[in-house]
Amino acid sequence: MSRVIVAAEGNPLRDRGTLLKRYAFYAVVLCAVTAMGVHLIVFGTDWGRMGTFADVFGIIMNLAPSLAFMPKIIGPLLQTLLMAFWGTLLAVLLSIPVFYLAASNITPYMMLTYPLGRGLIVVSRSTHEIIFALIYVAALGLGPLPGILALASRSVGFMAKTTAEAIENIDRGPIEAIEATGAGPIKRFLFGVVPQVLPVFIGNAIFQLDINIRRAAILGMVGAGGIGLYFAEQMKIYEYGNASACVLGVVLLVIIGEFVSNRVRTKLISG
């Protein structure tokens, strides 16, 4: 039956032009993928260093997490969690002036402060936490402090962006009513804007806390504290079993964090 339809001329489902275009698209994708694959996989890899199949297999076998190392990573994991918490809290505080500038309906000078706020958001959101961490480590030395600052710098953009959007979509009615009672701008913000935006804000903060656990886990790889440092050290001395124990710890921590964050946010929305 389908053969009959294909034969029928001018059938909208099997228009020749559309088909041709689609096949051309597939062909281009295929060529591009092949070219990139050859470039990256064949030429981009140091095959000599990789050694034989047996070598690779041996390394993979070595990757089994060594359970003996697990107790040693509890401290660093706790550090990671603390970094995520304080980084997120700092981001929450720093986002307040930024969303104030970046919400088009409350920004004080549309021509000046709005682009400034939006620019800060773009820089914060487009720069990887590792890059922030490098800058802070270079300025302040090794340790969790630059890590916390890096997490805060990375999260502040998301917090400010989502909050600014929530403020832009706010219900004007209650604010009008609060204004009619003779309240000034700050009271209007406290009673008209804050109650409407706060649930979104808190939900996003918890979401960022969850993501920041994941981010905090790698910051140690550039010297900014937490489990990443231990992971990188073990990798450097070829203790792959210990390194993957670190990874296992991170995976468990992240899974627990995500689970808790989801539960809290669902409760927040429904309650």
């Binding site: 981009g44 890899t45 690779v56 603390l82 487009s126 300025a139 030395g141 504290g225 990443g228």
Partner: protein, 272 residues
Amino acid sequence: MGDGITAVRQAYLHDRRVGRFVKFAALLSLFAFGFWSIDVLQIPIDRVLGMFGRVGNMVWQRLLPPDLVYATSASVIYAVLETIEMSLLGSFIGTLITLPLAWFAAWNLTPDRVFLYPMARLIIVVSRSLPSLMAAMLLVAVFGFGPFAGMLALVVGTIGFAGKLMAEQAETINMGPVDAVRATGAGKLKVFIYGIFPQLKPSWYGIVIYNWDARLRSSTILGFVGAGGIGLHLRERISVLEYHGAMGIIVIIIVLVVASEAMSHFLRKRYY
């Protein structure tokens, strides 16, 4: 004043007192937690106080202005292209692997709830929780330096990111048409292709594009552990204390990420 009011008033004032006490206690515990954290993290207080000056100095004196001559040199441009290639290929291969995984990991569609469903869920959850930089470092250990390891890390990232979103979307579809196709006696793959995939096409395409955008972001730093791309140059510049050059790379990365976000936004709006 009636008795009703007196009772309500007493209850309110009591609640207010309790509320104030709870707030005060919470604030106090937060401070205690803060001091404890400073102790555990061994944060040097003197450095916190001088922090703004040092970071400001770092940014204004050593990072700015960016060395854009270096940032547009041939080797950097090549690395940028390699980064984009890695993100594209990693997303592509990752998506091919994710398609069946998302199908298996959607409770309403999964062909097998006893074995495939939990396996697919586990793979997605673990891939999602695995930081890509750690995955890249492990993969470098196995496959050596170069973009191949980075690309594989991006495949893992795609499985975790797109897998979760795609499975979530799949769980929201209308089962009517699916049952209709099933009623014709079609096999499981045919049911997927004719009954399920058409419903998911728009949202899944959106997720694929969004995933590419996210992978490009993470591919910019994979070079840090030798897994290919622009990140290697950034690490090099910083290790030789060439901060203006490093800032040039950061500018390039920001431009790249903003452009990809704009493009992803455009594509998702234009087609879906």
